[in-house]
């Protein structure tokens, strides 16, 4: 007992706040809120005298759990499983229950030592049905941040688990596999590039180590099979406020769409309610924007000729007059009549004489490419990567991730020039219309609309182009275990980060915001990222009332107890983050002079040149080629077989029309593009690795960017202003010298 477990609470507390690596997405404030998940008292750590074989029943997951909630502390259900001293488990339980979330159950725990990061921390490894958490001794969970980005691993987030004994015995634990030895150390690889290494102390507690390891393996397997994203509301604040107002319009009601349309000034467009009951397409939002002149029944018919019923909709109206549209691939098997073709053409043209079809997938990686690159990147970035220092760069290149990032940026910047330079309709066409269309259309808006670069604007953008537009988050993030996993959204966040570091003064949100968003992807909290389609999201949150006509077999109304709060979304940041953390979402370097508002003349801007009369172009391989017709069906049946790739591939010609047709000035300096437009660099040396995100598992890689300096200055500024305001002629000299020393302020912030 005295060997390894005489934890000195005071010493670990004293240096923890200073030395915790700051690269973890958000510094966890150490508050004095007395809400420890477990506070281990020495006598509560008496080793259970249990033989491991007896406890474990690998097939029946329920058999060995400790159910500690609701309030009544019931012993383990399995009779053999519980020979833990009654007194101890009760004590432990009462300590834990206060820190547990409603519905959370503690499955197993063991004392251990976190390794690999400075400093090594003694604490307890706990596995619940929601997360694996390492609770350092004396650490107190802040009420405001129910999930600590440092110590908590949501089960969804747990990737590979390895058990180690000595130098020689290593076992990779898959679902259902049985641990062959008592582990000395366990390695949990987070899918978010973190790594948790916990060493177990010798001295009688080995069975517990064994137990917790197996519990983690099984809990992870179960969470994956059952897809039980019932959603656990993480904070008390979230549980209480059932009728809170969403922080941004969630685009689930008609008014949101109407407001947004007006805001964009899209006069030739209206909100269509044709999909109100999700009978046109379940993956489409209930409302979307279509040209004024088209009727709902025309739309219904026309959409049928597109893949998965995803016909052309307005994505964004450029204040200069251009429209950005997105649609799925033409449905090959259909045989539209003349009127339908006319409607489709009308919708694609959207009242413009100049139409550019963009083959989205051209020059972009496939979903499988993205997934593979992400896996490789994770392999490279985890702290136990076997890549030598001097081979780091080529290994990084070998992941291809950065190549994909830059091809996305490049394409987006091309399209934004297309949208900005002339009045035209630009149509993004992807077969499924649910992955890269969203990525490109959001990037284009970020590049060309300063509104999208504000904190609110960006959130609405993601809500509109990803969540409402039906990006299959669950599948793409590997939640269903299906093979179609591909972190397209994470690729998008990386692209945004690249923009952020290239244009540090143009974005209102900071890197921390992007990190928080990235983290939220793997938090089973709100439904935002836990469903594939708006329809599924809607039926879960019980929004579809009686008039829903879609038949849902086996679906029962969620009971009030474990259901997600309907209105809660990922954008309710205060559910998971403290106010201090949310303050860090703001980029201190954001230059409000470039703020939205008067950035573009709303009426007939001079830089827009009307396109030539009724011309149809295909944008592919970085060049524009004239097309004879918009739709593939009319008189070239041979093209039908290629689905979304029906578009003829032009030969790459150096004599591309792009230069002239884009109306780009020959010298940037001579004839600048509108000031709001950002053109990112996508050269090899300009695309960087998002170190704070991907290298967060590495203790040694942490870099102070200049951001803290800026915020330090800002603090100083407000301090001085405050001082000046309150100034009285009797300021004591001590005060004066204190504030004169910017050094202290700077060093505090770094």
């Amino acid at each position: 007992m005295e060997l390894g477990l005489s934890f000195s609470v005071s010493s670990s507390l004293s240096h923890y706040p200073l030395t915790s690596p700051s690269l973890y997405s958000l510094p966890t404030p150490i508050l004095s809120s007395p809400q420890p998940l477990i506070s281990v008292s020495p006598e509560s750590l008496k080793p259970p005298k249990v033989a491991a074989e007896v406890i474990l029943d690998p097939r029946g997951g329920e058999a060995w759990g400790l159910t500690l909630y609701p309030s009544q502390l019931s012993g383990p259900k399995s009779v053999q499983g519980s020979r833990m001293p009654e007194r101890r488990s009760r004590q432990l339980g009462s300590c834990m229950s206060s820190g547990c979330l409603p519905g959370e159950q503690i499955l197993a725990w063991a004392p251990g030592m976190r390794k690999g990061l400075e400093p090594e921390l003694p604490g307890t490894l706990i596995c619940t049905n929601l997360r694996v958490t390492f609770q350092p001794c004396g650490w107190q969970r802040s009420q405001e941040t129910p999930l600590s980005s440092e110590y908590d691993f949501a089960l969804v987030n747990v990737g590979r688990v390895e058990a180690v004994s000595g130098l020689s015995r290593i076992q990779l634990l898959r679902p259902g596999s049985l641990l062959k030895f008592i582990p000395e150390e366990i390695l949990i690889h987070g899918r978010d590039f973190r790594l948790l290494r916990v060493g177990f102390e010798a001295g009688g507690l080995e069975p517990q180590a064994f137990q917790v390891t197996m519990a983690i393996v099984q809990a992870r397997a179960q969470s994956r099979q059952a897809q039980q994203y019932a959603g656990i509301t993480l904070s008390k604040a979230g549980q209480r406020s059932s009728s809170r107002k969403p922080p941004i319009p969630l685009l689930e009601i008609l008014e949101d769409w109407e407001t947004e349309r007006k805001k964009q000034g899209a006069k030739g467009w209206r909100v269509s309610t044709v999909n109100e009951r999700f009978d046109v397409a379940t993956s489409l939002p209930r409302y979307f924007w279509v040209p004024n002149r088209t009727l709902d029944n025309e739309i219904r018919r026309a959409f049928g000729h597109f893949h998965q019923g995803r016909g052309p909709r307005l994505s964004w109206h450029h204040p200069g007059g251009s429209d950005l549209l997105r649609c799925g691939g033409f449905y090959t098997a259909s045989d539209p009549n003349k009127e339908d073709i006319r409607t489709v053409e009308l919708m694609l043209q959207a009242g413009h004489s100049d139409v550019v079809l963009v083959d989205t997938m051209d020059e972009l990686p496939s979903l499988a490419d993205v997934q593979l690159a992400h896996l490789r990147l994770r392999d490279l970035c985890l702290p136990d990567s076997s890549v030598a220092e001097d081979k780091w760069l080529s290994a990084l290149e070998g992941t291809r991730w950065l190549d994909y990032v830059r091809s996305c940026l490049r394409k987006a910047s091309d399209i934004s020039v297309l949208v900005t330079s002339r009045v035209r309709s630009v149509v993004l066409q992807e077969r499924g219309d649910r992955d890269f269309n969203g990525l490109l259309s959001s990037l284009v808006q970020l590049l060309s609309a300063p509104e999208a670069r504000t904190l609110l604007g960006f959130q609405s953008l993601v809500q509109r182009e990803w969540v409402a537009a039906g990006h299959p988050f669950l599948t793409r993030l590997g939640g269903t275990g299906a093979s179609e996993e591909a972190p397209v959204f994470l690729l998008f966040l990386d692209c945004v980060w690249q923009l952020l570091q290239q244009f540090p003064a143009e974005f209102e949100f900071s890197e921390f915001f992007l990190l928080a968003l990235q983290d939220s992807v793997r938090v089973p909290d709100t439904l935002t990222f836990l469903r594939d389609t708006p329809w599924e999201r809607g039926k879960q949150s019980g929004q579809l009332n009686s008039y829903t006509q879609v038949y849902t077999p086996g679906y029962s109304q969620p009971s009030a107890g474990n259901s997600v709060n309907q209105k809660l979304s990922v954008w309710d940041w205060d559910l998971r983050y403290s106010n201090e953390q949310i303050l860090q979402f703001h980029n201190p370097g954001y230059d409000p002079e470039h703020c939205p508002g008067s950035w573009l003349p709303r009426q007939q801007p001079s830089f827009m040149v009307p396109g030539p009369p009724s011309s149809v172009w295909l944008f592919s391989r970085g060049a524009l080629t004239p097309l004879h017709q918009l739709c593939p069906w009319r008189d070239s049946p041979s093209l039908l077989a290629v689905s979304s790739r029906w578009l003829p591939r032009p030969a790459i010609s150096s004599e591309s029309l792009a230069d002239q047709e884009w109306g780009l000035p020959s010298h940037w300096g001579a004839c600048p593009l509108p000031p709001g437009l950002l053109l990112p660099g996508y050269l090899g040396p300009q695309i960087r690795l998002w170190r704070r995100c991907y290298l967060r598992g590495r203790p040694e890689v942490q870099m102070g960017l200049s951001a803290p300096t800026v915020s330090g200055l800002q603090d100083e500024l407000s301090h001085l202003q405050e001082l000046l305001r309150k100034w009285t002629p009797r300021i004591s000299p001590e005060d004066h010298s204190k504030k004169r020393d910017p050094n202290t302020i700077l060093s505090q912030s770094c």
Binding site: D384, E389, D659, L664, P675, P680, G681, E700, V701
Partner: protein, 772 residues
Amino acid sequence: MRAVPRPPLPWGWAEPQPPVLVAAATAGARVAASAPARRCFPGRRYAGERGSRRWRRHQGAQALLRVVRAPRGEQLLCEASTVLKYVQEDSCQRGIYGKLVCTDFKIAFLGDDESALDNDETQFKNKVIGENDITLHCVDQIYGVFDEKKKTLFGQLKKYPEKLIIHCKDLRVFHFCLRYTKEEEVKRIVSGIIHHTQAPKLLKRLFLFSYAAAARNSTATDPKNHTVMFETLQDWCWELERTKGNMKYKAVRVNEGYRVSERLPEYFVVPTPLPEEDVPRFQGHGIPMWCWSCHNGCALLKMSALPKEQDDAVLQVQKSFLDGVYKTIHRPPYEIVKTEDLSSSFLSLQDIQTAHSKFKQLFLIDNSTEFWDTDIKWFSLLESSSWLDIIRRCLKKAIEITECLEAQNMNVLLLEENASDLCCLISSLVQVMMDPHCRTRVGFQSLVQKEWIMGGHCFLDRCNHLRQSDKEEVPVFLLFLDCVWQLVHQHPPAFEFTETYLTVLSDSLYIPIFSTFFFNSPHQKDTNMGRESQDTQGKPLNLLTVWDWSVQFEPKAQTLLKNPLYVEKPKLDKGQRKGMRFKHQRQLSLPLTQSKSSPKRGFFREETDHLIKNLLGKRISKLINSSDELQDNFREFYDSWHSKPTDYHGLLLPHIEGPEIKVWAQRYLRWIPEAQILGGGRVATMSKLLEMMEEVQSLQEKIDERHHGQVALQAEASSLLRASARLSSLFPFALLQRHSSKPVLPTSGWKALGDEEDLARREDESVDVGDL
């Protein structure tokens, strides 16, 4: 002399007085025969009517001839008109016509249309070197294009190219089309350029001397330059006092008048007990020379190795001599001395040379298609040049030495053959990391002066200024600047100077009006400056030092060399030794004993256990293995430093992991228009920062005024940054001429990149390495 007086040149070169014709440099007799040279009169304004149209049109000419303030004594050697300079080597082949001239100072292109220069973006102008000027020493390679084929040009030519491509050492690339130029002019200019840039030169023929001779009578420009030059005994004593090294070390004047050695400076510092008469025995070889003293009394020393001898008797003498020396410095008060042999266990100069020549090719772009083709392989190309790896090794070595000095209280003796290459590099890096004074501008300049100039780094040979031996050309100093850049980049608030400062310093290596980088040793400088022959000339030559930045930049532009984020050390601590308090803090916050026994992730460790061949096993073992003790010390020092908040006025260590060593983008990418991000880059934050700093400053002033009734410092004009709302990321070197063509990013490589090793399969591995 066949030269005939010409009519006044259209661009206003001619003087109202009859021009004095002189023969061109004797070296190029053939050139001289066909191209009579004109002398530019020093100190005279040329006769173009100011403000006239012509005057405006030929601003470029003025840029060359800025006779008023720039190179005096410059001689025109040859010229060619109607040369087309390509703006960008791409399919459209746009360009501007103008005149290409070659003087004994530079090659310059004088465009007919200089309207582009009129805008205010070029406020960061170098007063000496214009945008289209290439000093002769800056020329790296010259290529000619014959029928679409590119060939290196050297020696005598039989055929003259239709296009001339000049690669510069500061990584600019110029394309000149000679198709429309008269044949004889082509011959003259091409052979002239080749001759003057590539033929071996005599030291006395450096432009430096004609410039100095011409400027002889001008007033010395060195009004407020606090850089310590280390040319006097007082300078050394001052430095000893500053670092509190005067207890154990003394400055000696044995070498006054270079009696002992021509490689050594006149004054230097040796350990106090060392007898002065020992110094001359091997011309200063084998003598530990003091570089710098640490706050705890430990010192960094350097020593050049004794000459290699075959004779046993001589060897014996050498051995006993060295024994004596070592005995002296091992006795108290010196305690332990650790010897670090840089010539055997560290980088070789050859490595540096190869790496740099590979590395620079990445940025010398002849044609953008080629560039885009290689761009997709950027990281692997970068890695294969191993330049970044060399930087990493230098930084790592410097950290190791820092650890000895700081944590182990050991003196360190650097040993190298001449103690003038890697010794300079490592010792100055250590000082930049440990001594906050070296991170101020004056301190840094003094450091370069002490370690490099007085330390006898052979700038003339290492930069190959005289074109005498390509083998000797090794960019050691540039490597040093790149290492310092890594530090500046990682800890911007710790330095008083900016990366722009480092960039322009690296450019100054090739401007032959400053004496700083154009001699191999102080002795060579002194003998050539004519100090001895004072009676013949009356007055010694007045050579400029590079530290006088006002020669190159207007005060406004000089603000860009100063880091606005730098906060001076609080005055309270002035009396205190800098490191002391700080070190104390660090030790207190160290985790007490745990870390020593803890297994560390080994970055620098070789895989020791060869039995573990399995990949999974390898990864795990990397986590769990503990490494040998020496590396552990280093690791512990490095890790514990990085886990603490940084004190910018204390010890400063760089990150040296793979992802952290970066390309010095400002220096290497600044001439590549594609690399420009309009309205982006660090400048964007910087201007915001400056704005806030100004605001803070004005507020403080207000408070000050009310409080003390006195006027505080003037807010620094940052108008350069504020001038334009949308600066480019390449500021202040921006070209602002990004062309619109968007080359296709090759994507074909994706599929080819290797068979997809099955990552999923690894998930299934369950390994019992013990069985292997």
